[in-house]
């Protein structure tokens, strides 16, 4: 199966380690991945907050481009690694399907840019692709360094299964847990796995954002996690980069590595740290792996 990979802004910026590690493990698994040409912003947050229609038009342009890039009539697997990108494209597609007037407007906007959208795009999340296309058995078969003894808190974040649960349970997703377990690690019982990391609140209302991250980190530590695994660049950023502030704010040392699930996969596959972008982490993962 071929995948058109949509990076979005984060994967080329703060989330570079996600891109690096995901492409490395995808290569190991033999997934045929090709980056979308001339992609643009998915429309998240800023556009979505002000004018949904503009956000949908931005997302629709990416969808139209992906159809152009996969010109035969087969379904296009549109792979968005960032949770926000994944959701915005999915939302744009769903809203167009449900609302013919909106769809007509957006098709019109695309036509002005000499683009067309047929609707043969399937928007896929990396966890979905790994667990359901590659399969747990295949994932397991490539492990050369089992992550024995490592306790992982799998954090799915708020957007992966909400509001659309396309491949996992809405209230208790388990795909990442199954994937991490296949690497030989242990996943902790973690009822906060879909709780909010604060999103942009860390920048706009830091009190609220800090508290949300404090709850997540404190509870992960209390349950014995060595590392939080995440599937979203914003979750990773929020959970990792403010640990000093949160520690002093709550008078409690909160230090816990926060890594992409793909980095953990890469480690167990014996891929080099540099290829996995490990050097980009602020809270180094190595000490926890030495357990």
């Amino acid at each position: 199966m071929n995948y058109i990979y949509y990076p979005g802004c984060s994967l080329k910026g703060t989330g570079r380690a996600y891109e690096e590690s995901f492409l490395a493990i995808a290569g190991a698994l033999g997934l045929a991945i090709e980056e979308l040409n001339d992609w643009n912003c998915c429309g998240a947050t800023t556009y979505m907050g002000i004018d949904e229609k503009k956000a949908f038009a931005m997302a629709a342009r990416n969808l139209a481009l992906s159809e152009e890039q996969a010109p035969d009539d087969k379904p296009v697997n549109f792979l968005a690694l960032c949770s926000a990108c994944y959701l915005v494209h999915l939302k744009a597609q769903t809203m167009m399907d449900e609302n013919p007037n909106l769809k007509a407007t957006i098709i019109g906007a695309l036509a002005n840019a000499q683009l067309s959208y047929q609707g043969r795009v399937k928007i896929r999340h990396p966890l979905d692709v790994l667990v359901n296309d590659a399969g747990i058995d295949k994932i397991k078969s490539l492990v050369v360094k089992p992550l024995k003894g490592l306790k992982v808190a799998c954090h799915y974040g708020c957007l992966v299964v909400r509001p659309y649960a396309t491949f996992d349970d809405q209230n208790n997703p388990t795909s990442m847990d199954r994937l991490i377990q296949a690497l030989g690690a242990e996943t902790i019982e973690w009822p906060l796995k879909t709780r909010c990391c604060g999103g942009t609140l860390m920048g706009t209302i830091p009190d609220v954002g800090s508290r949300l991250n404090y709850i997540l980190l404190k509870e992960a530590k209390r349950r014995g996690a060595d590392v939080v695994a995440t599937a979203c660049p914003l979750c990773q950023f929020n959970l990792e980069c403010f640990q000093n502030q949160i520690s002093s704010l709550y008078g409690e040392p909160i230090h816990l590595p926060v890594a992409y699930f793909s980095q953990l996969m890469g480690i167990s596959y014996g891929i080099s740290n540099r290829q996995l972008g490990m050097q980009r982490l602020f809270v180094p993962l190595q000490p926890s792996l030495a357990v």
Binding site: N171, N172, P191
Partner: protein, 667 residues
């Protein structure tokens, strides 16, 4: 019948009557246009419209035209024949012609209610009326045959509804077969401690009824049995009942329990179904002390002898009456009954389907039915509220609407949960003095004494928080939350999200149709709503009847209901069944098949096709002949006959082809 015979009734003079059904039809169908169209159809003498054809003045229009205009065929374009075919057949007969010179065109359910465009609706109504007009010209006079009704009744399900229906009919002298799937009757009511809103003891009012069932000379009680087949028709059903082996001779067992004591399992080891696994039982067991019949049974899945073939079989020796029988086999009984009452009840919602409520994950999260057993004086803890961790709760949260009023599980309100939650709140508060919180979306307490009960609970100091609970988790934010279950909920009355730590959570689960409701409905040839509840013939005016004559429904199998409503419906179903039986006969639809002797070539194709063995071969005439009393009108022989000698009353080839042509010619 051939067309020459049809002419003996004279040239057809057809009257067409179009009903507005208030605005139900008139809003979508252009009635004037339809009338003009009908007037132009062959043999139509008169076409009229009326606001309500089913009313007396509507029916009189038909009768008057028959008498004054010599109308000899009637077409009414109105609602479904299920609704008013009998009405208009009667009106036709009252006018003085045979009631089967009538045909109905359904332009409400098949047209106005399901078509959005007025033009399309009118067009379809015209087609259906044209079909009916063409068909009715070929109708022939028919007579209904009267068949005596078997005076015995079958009641399926031995919960409170089934018990009530069975006792009512048995008391009036009917022979009643009561079939229950479980080893004992009593249903869910037998598991309750108290009933709302009067707080009278459930056992005190139910167990006398259970023993009456057992002792009643007119009731045959078959527990641990299931209906596996129903044949026949109203007044004359043939029912097959599978009696599952309990490995105990029921007629010998007196329920002394000595075999249970003697079982080689010294201690009970297996989850007890009656207590929802809150206590244990042995492989040989009595479901509960008041079980009716008071007969033990052996569970082959846990019995050592059945599993390994090696056991000292101490139970056999312990029984002085030699009632233990390891060779018992499943048995099929066949009975004849005139009417059937279905009272198969409900299934509680499985709270584990809502993972964020932590059922089966956190031991101190209980379903409401488990709590019914915990508060019950004859329950596993003798009525003391002791949690799975051995402690008594100091704070308890009761979560309403678990599996009800929820798009993800069931959209409907389960009707009983608000009231039973209040009852449980009262009982838990009374026994533990714990702080009790009710989390509700809306309090629904419509019933005699119900709102007063709610008032009483508020005065008792039980807390009420309006909001659907988001999740029940074990992660603490403060020191006082450590070791507690934290209920996160938006309190919509004060507009904040609250975290309420409690020791114990009770999930008030909703009611669902049985998982096999679809199979059961097929056996009895009735319908289910899309949620799986058995469908009543009419939601207001025929609430315990079904679309299959002679089969009635009562209690929660029709939809969620509390005990008073179940008992009321059981009484209604019993009286409907008795009205049918006491009439003494049923009139059958004359839709039987017949062989036209002059055409039959005697090929015998039809004979093996008949599922009812109603066709035999007459040797001397070399033709087949159909016994009308055995024929059920399925039409198989008619379709199979290579020479069209087999025909079916009400569905002759001419009638069907004329109707098709009428519909298609117009389109």
């Amino acid at each position: 019948m051939s067309s020459t015979e049809q002419k003996t009734d004279g040239q057809p003079r057809i009257g067409v009557y179009v009903c507005h059904c208030g605005i139900n039809i008139a809003l979508k169908v252009d009635i004037t246009d339809l009338i003009e169209f009908a007037k132009g159809l062959p043999n139509v003498t008169v076409a009229r419209e009326y606001k309500f054809m089913c009313s007396d003045p509507g029916q009189e229009l038909i009768q008057k035209d028959i008498k004054e205009l010599g109308i000899n065929r009637v077409v009414v374009a109105s609602c479904s024949p299920l609704m008013h075919e009998p009405t208009f057949r009667r009106a036709t007969a009252k006018g003085g012609i045979n009631q089967f010179f009538f045909q109905m065109a359904n332009i409400r359910e098949h047209v106005s209610w399901v078509t959005s465009d007025r033009g399309d609706a009118t067009k379809k109504a015209k087609a259906l009326v044209a079909g009916a007009v063409r068909r009715v010209a070929y109708h022939t006079p028919l007579e209904r045959s009267k068949v005596p009704v078997n005076a015995n009744v079958l009641v399926v399900g031995g919960g409170i509804s089934g018990i009530q229906a069975a006792l009512t009919m048995a008391d009036s002298g009917k022979r009643v077969y009561l079939v229950e799937r479980e080893p004992t009757i009593g249903g869910y009511m037998a598991k309750f401690d108290k009933t709302f809103p009067t707080l009278d003891c459930a056992a005190c009012i139910l167990t006398p009824k259970m023993s009456s069932v057992r002792a009643h000379p007119n009731i045959t009680l078959w527990s641990y049995s299931e209906v596996v087949g129903v044949d026949g028709y109203v007044g004359n059903f043939k029912v097959k009942v599978k009696r599952k082996p309990r490995y105990i001779k029921e007629e010998l067992c007196v329920g002394c329990n000595q075999c249970v004591e003697a079982c080689i399992f010294k201690e009970p080891k297996f989850a007890d179904e009656f207590n929802f696994g809150l206590s244990k039982r042995k492989p040989i067991y009595m479901p509960f002390p008041q079980a009716t019949p008071s007969v033990v049974l052996i569970d082959p899945d846990t019995c050592i002898f059945f599993k390994t073939g090696k056991c000292k079989q101490t139970c056999i020796k312990a029984c002085e009456r030699n009632a233990v029988d390891f060779d018992q086999k499943e048995k099929i009984e066949e009975i004849d009954v005139g009417a059937i009452v279905l009272a198969t009840g409900f299934k509680p919602f499985d709270a584990a389907r809502i993972p964020q409520y932590g059922y089966k994950k956190y031991p101190n999260v209980y379903s409401s039915l488990e709590i019914e057993r915990l508060v019950n004086a004859s329950g596993p803890t003798g009525g003391e509220i002791i949690m799975r961790d051995g402690k008594k709760p100091k704070s308890v949260g009761i979560v309403h609407c678990v599996g009800s009023r929820d798009e993800k599980t069931n959209r409907y309100c389960s009707r009983v949960c608000c009231m039973y939650s209040l009852k449980l709140a009262h009982l838990v508060h009374e026994r533990t003095h714990a702080e009790v919180y009710n989390f509700y979306i809306d309090m629904r307490t419509p019933g005699k004494g119900y709102e007063e009960f709610y008032d009483k609970l508020m005065q008792e100091g039980v807390h009420f928080v309006r909001g659907r609970v988001a999740e029940i988790r074990d992660w603490p934010m403060t020191a006082e939350e450590v070791g507690k279950l934290v209920i996160r909920v938006e309190d919509t009355l004060i507009g904040v999200v609250r975290r309420i730590p409690v020791d114990m959570v009770i999930l008030s689960v909703g009611l669902e149709a049985h998982a096999d409701a679809e199979d059961v409905r097929r056996i009895f040839n009735i319908s289910c709503s899309h949620e799986g509840w058995f469908l009543e013939r009419h939601p207001k005016l025929a609430p315990v009847s079904t679309f299959t004559d002679g089969i009635f429904i009562a209690g929660a199998c029709q939809g969620p209901k509390d005990i008073p409503d179940c008992v009321a419906q059981a009484g209604a179903a019993a009286s409907e069944a008795m009205a049918l039986i006491d009439k003494g006969f049923v009139e059958l639809e004359p839709n039987t098949a017949y062989i036209q002797e002059t055409i039959c070539s005697g090929c015998k194709t039809c004979i093996p096709m008949c599922p009812y063995n109603a066709i035999r071969y007459i040797e001397d005439k070399k033709i087949a002949q159909i016994n009308a009393t055995l024929c059920k009108g399925c039409g198989t022989c008619v379709a199979a006959c290579p020479s069209a000698a087999a025909q079916q009353n009400l569905f002759t080839d001419e009638q069907i082809f004329e109707e098709i042509e009428g519909v298609l010619n117009y389109v």
